[in-house]
């Protein structure tokens, strides 16, 4: 019996992995995609049209649902009673936090991964991000510039469908957009206030279909996107890339297959991967000419750090020593929330049916001069509010009885709140490594986080609180408060950096094509290659960079650098 060898293995089926397998399958390659958990079934798993009162525990979930699991912390928001009963999220594999670190690692192991439930904000990165080191002298530039990546952003936007407007802000390059989401009352009021204090308030770049897009129907505005879309009206691997890849018949999709390591040949090149079959607990090997890791940022580093061999004593493709280093994240938290008295008592309007970032404040700091502020780089702010579902502001209203009930209704349209998205800077003390003592239930050494917020992002956090105080004044709002401290690191799901790309093999893990410097047939298609998180989100750029990486890989196949089976 001959052993099957694929042209390519793709580990992970999320934003990056899904796109990689689509492109490689459509190019005629035989692809084996390996997914850690079960297959996502939108009709079974996405029960977002259910009423909260149809859920046994009103959305809180069965309190004993994680009993006996290795990792029992629930993952808000993505994981909820709306999808309870299906084993979509990772609770069998624990991870470690070094003393003083409190990383919140939310993992979806089902096909499509976190991209089934993502926030859909899809801004382009610009040269202000790629060449930040030139501007402010910190760190290193990205190995690409805007002119080079711009066409790939266009391709990604065209495929995904992104709603926005042309805004002519060099720090936020415009793309190719579907019609924007209409604005609600709160957006107009916030925009007028923001204008008075010199802060932009503009339609976000939102990957939600405001019109039909190829085979994908326009959004039906049921308002529960974060539970997964039952109609495929925003980009997700489940509705977009995975079906495209499967249509080619060139895809073999393995599920419940937890990849442990990349295995190498006698020359130290990638030969395939070893995975644990979760059902049988047996280790299985799969072979291919090229291996693509897209396991989500830190899990990709985890697999590589666990891929030790004679050639790679500290993990595969780690001659730079940068594997697992430079862990970055977005600092999240609310720097201000309150209400708009001028909307008191107004009729309820369906403000959250898009359940989305309709508008935001794209970075406005340090644009003219990189050192205008006490911090370098910059942050963005999302604003939300209006009528939601549960009147969570009730704690602001004193008392009980008829007046209390009346006031809850009266304040219903008025509440607004801000969310800061502030990038951390790479730091030698922020990284992941392998815990020397702890192993998971399959015997795989656990990943361990070392991470603290740095001074730069904490200065942004303080700055944003002052801006929010000014904004509330300018728009005639009343402030109720702000978060005492930022959310735990990891909350944003925007971790980057642990396999950063660069032109110098001594200081980066991959080259500008996301091909590891050391192992030419090992590629990375997730946010781990991004050297810094910028003030923008990661999903659309993951898709765009994956398209570019796969294009490069295919040309390497064409030139014979990689040989087909």
């Amino acid at each position: 019996m001959t052993t099957k060898i694929y042209d390519a293995i793709v580990v992970g089926t999320g934003a990056g992995g899904g796109m990689a397998m689509k492109i490689l399958c459509e190019a005629g390659l035989q692809v084996c995609a390996i997914n850690s958990g079960p297959r996502t079934d939108p009709t079974e798993d996405f029960r977002q049209h259910r009423q909260v009162y149809d859920l046994k525990f009103r959305g809180y979930g069965n309190p004993l649902r994680f009993e006996g699991k290795a990792h029992q912390e629930p993952y808000s928001v993505e994981e909820s009673e709306y999808s309870e009963g299906r084993d979509l999220f990772e609770h069998d594999i624990a991870y470690a936090n070094a003393p003083g670190t409190d990383w919140y690692w939310k993992r979806c192991k089902a096909t499509g991964g976190k991209a089934n439930f993502w926030g859909r904000s899809s801004a382009r990165y610009g040269d202000i991000d790629f060449k930040a080191a030139d501007f402010d002298g910190f760190g290193e530039n990205w190995p690409v510039d805007y002119a080079e990546i711009s066409p790939w952003f266009s391709k990604a936007e065209r495929y995904m469908g992104v709603a926005s407007t042309i805004q002519n802000r060099p720090s936020n390059p415009d793309g190719e957009y579907l019609p924007p989401m209409p604005w609600r009352c709160i957006d107009h009021i916030i925009q007028k206030g923001a204008e008075k204090i010199g802060v932009p308030y503009l339609p976000d770049r939102c990957a939600q279909l405001t019109v039909d897009h190829y085979d994908h129907p326009a959004c039906h505005y049921c308002g529960n996107c974060s539970r997964g879309c039952d109609a495929g009206s925003f980009f997700s691997p489940t509705w977009f890339t995975i079906p495209d890849a499967e249509a080619t018949k060139n895809l073999t999709l393995l599920t419940n297959a937890l990849v442990r390591s990349v295995i190498t040949d006698e020359n130290g090149l990638a030969k395939g991967v070893a995975y644990i079959d979760r059902g049988t607990r047996q280790e299985v090997e799969v072979y291919a000419k090229v291996v693509v890791l897209a396991a989500s940022c830190v899990e990709t580093a985890h697999i590589m750090l666990n891929s030790k061999s004679r050639h790679w004593p500290t993990g595969i493709a780690n001659s730079s020593g940068q594997l697992g280093r430079n862990l970055c994240d977005h600092l999240y938290g609310s720097p201000g929330y309150g209400y708009l008295p001028r909307l008191l008592g107004q009729p309820a309007t369906p403000d959250n049916i898009a359940d989305s970032t309709v508008a935001w404040m794209p970075r406005w700091q340090n644009l003219k001069n990189p050192h205008e502020e006490q911090f370098i780089r910059g942050y963005s702010v999302y604003m939300g509010g209006g009528c939601g579902d549960f009147p969570g502001y009730y704690g602001q209203i004193e008392g009980f009885g008829l007046q209390f009930k009346h006031d809850i209704k009266r304040y219903y349209p008025t509440g607004i709140g801000a969310l800061i998205q502030a990038p951390s800077l790479p730091s030698p003390t922020n990284y992941v490594d392998i815990d020397p003592d702890k192993k998971d239930i399959f015997g795989i050494p656990q990943l361990r986080f070392h991470f603290q917020w740095g001074q730069n992002e904490l200065l942004m956090w303080e700055h944003s609180k002052r801006v929010m105080a000014d904004l509330f004044k300018a728009m005639g709002g009343e402030m109720w408060g702000m978060d005492d401290e930022p959310n735990r690191p990891g909350t944003s799901l925007h971790e980057t950096g642990v396999c950063r790309f660069g032109n110098d093999a001594k200081t980066s893990v991959t080259n500008k094509w996301a091909q590891t410097h050391d192992v030419p047939n090992l590629y990375i298609c997730d946010a781990s290659i991004f050297p810094s998180p910028t003030d923008k989100t990661t999903t659309m750029p993951i898709v765009a960079f994956t398209m570019r990486t796969c294009d490069h890989m295919l040309s390497n196949f064409k030139q014979g650098i990689h040989k087909r089976v």
């Binding site: 977002q48 808000s76 209409p182 505005y221 939601g388 969570g392 502001y393 009885g401 709140g417």
Partner: protein, 223 residues
């Protein structure tokens, strides 16, 4: 208990940005649901005979039901009683679901501990109310007049009426109010009482602000 945690939680939910939600399993875990099930059976007021409480004694249950209705009474929309809030509270307390949690849930053990805490706080709190009503009016809370009951709650609910000796009563009232509000506004009648127009499966498009001539909304009149 609950004070700071609740406030933080509220915000995360109401600002309506899914990704902002942080580290607790509470308010943000359910989201708005769209009317899908039209069967009235799922939503009709409970009238299938007397409810047998899972956790509370019948006397305690009646007191919980009464307190809930005092917090959210019937007006032109149903109150807590018709919405079945007492059943909700009994069910959640019995199952140790920490609705009004004092800290993050990191493990099943945390959940159970907070669930146990809620059970004992409910029992102690109901007892406290009776002790208080005895010392003020020389009778059980449920035997007090409506005015006396209001007076007892007001000193727990309004800062201006707080007394230094009622701290544990205030903590109980806050928890009772949390459970009541959560129980009420996660029912169909509760959501409908807010006039929220999203209770449906499909909107053909997202409606935009109906006040194009008044972007700052300075000319709106409160109905």
């Amino acid at each position: 208990m609950g004070g700071q945690g609740i406030e933080r939680r509220e915000i995360l939910r109401f600002i309506g940005i899914a990704s902002v939600a942080a580290s607790f399993p509470g308010f943000h875990q359910w989201a708005f649901a769209c009317a899908h099930h039209q069967e009235p059976a799922a939503t009709a007021p409970i009238d299938a005979g007397p409810y047998n409480p899972l956790f509370f004694s019948p006397q305690q249950f009646r007191m919980v039901e009464h307190l809930a209705e005092m917090i959210i009474p019937e007006d032109d929309t149903p109150g807590a009683k018709k919405a079945g809030v007492a059943e909700f509270i009994d069910f959640m307390v019995a199952n140790k679901v920490p609705v009004s949690a004092s800290r993050d849930v990191r493990s099943t053990q945390d959940t159970i501990e907070m669930g146990n805490e809620a059970q004992s706080r409910f029992l102690a709190g109901l007892g406290w109310m009776n002790t208080r009503s005895h010392s003020e009016f020389e009778r059980e809370f449920m035997d007090c007049t409506r005015e006396q009951q209001n007076a007892l709650l007001e000193e727990l609910a309004y800062k201006a009426k707080f007394k230094p000796t009622t701290e544990s009563g205030r903590a109980f009232f806050q928890m009772m109010r949390d459970y009541t509000v959560v129980g009420y506004y996660t029912t169909k009648v509760g959501l409908e009482s807010l006039g929220y127009p999203g209770l449906r499966t499909v909107w053909p498009k997202m409606p935009s602000c109906p006040h194009p001539d008044d972007p700052e909304h300075t000319h709106l009149r409160e109905p």
